[in-house]
């Protein structure tokens, strides 16, 4: 089974801090995604990556950056955390091509910025 892990389940940071959220998948998937989930807004795509060192902006990239130095690892970086970035962050991976389009999700990181 595909396993996607995220570095923390819960995280509390102060305004202005630099925050790193890490995601690792063990199925050699090319695609990786970062979403944030807020009540009433569903999941919104922040960034995705379709290969090592490749990244594309999603719907809400402002205030975030990403890094993908290795195929299995995709990091989300909040350069200077703000209170409006308090949210649930979900990482996912998928394999392009073939007939498999589903995404596999990690357990999520609930980030609180105070």
């Amino acid at each position: 089974d595909v396993k996607v892990t995220q570095s923390s389940r819960y995280l509390v940071k102060r305004t202005g801090e630099k925050v790193f959220l890490e995601c690792v998948q063990d199925m050699d998937h090319e695609n990786m995604f970062w979403y944030r989930q807020d009540p009433g807004l569903g999941l919104r795509l922040i960034y995705f990556s379709y290969d090592v060192k490749m990244k594309e902006k999603g719907d809400i990239p402002e205030g975030y950056s990403v890094s993908r130095e290795k195929k299995e690892r995709f990091s989300l970086i909040l350069e200077s955390a703000s209170t409006n970035q308090t949210s649930m962050y979900l990482c996912a991976s998928s394999s392009p091509g073939g007939r498999r389009y589903e995404q596999y999700f990690g357990p999520g990181t609930r980030l609180t910025v105070t």
Partner: protein, 111 residues
Amino acid sequence: SQQGEEDPQALSIQEGENATMNCSYKTSINNLQWYRQNSGRGLVHLILIRSNEREKHSGRLRVTLDTSKKSSSLLITASRAADTASYFCASGGNAGNMLTFGGGTRLMVKP
């Protein structure tokens, strides 16, 4: 990208009843997927229906797709308390397996 919409936002039923959730999307799709999320957890893929399919079954799940109306429905038959969760539809285009998620339906199944 544009988000889809799900209806209803919340649904409460008794164990043994059927639960129907609806989803609308805005652009042409390659596939439509349904995911489940237990409280405070990640999403789990349930079922995928391709754009050239009209209906698909998996266990107690039945999904329909009407591309002319840009809508889909998820039916859970003979619901159980363990089905209590949020359910999301996600529309997939052809670009890099990206998905556009709906806002979700919160289902509560009372024992």
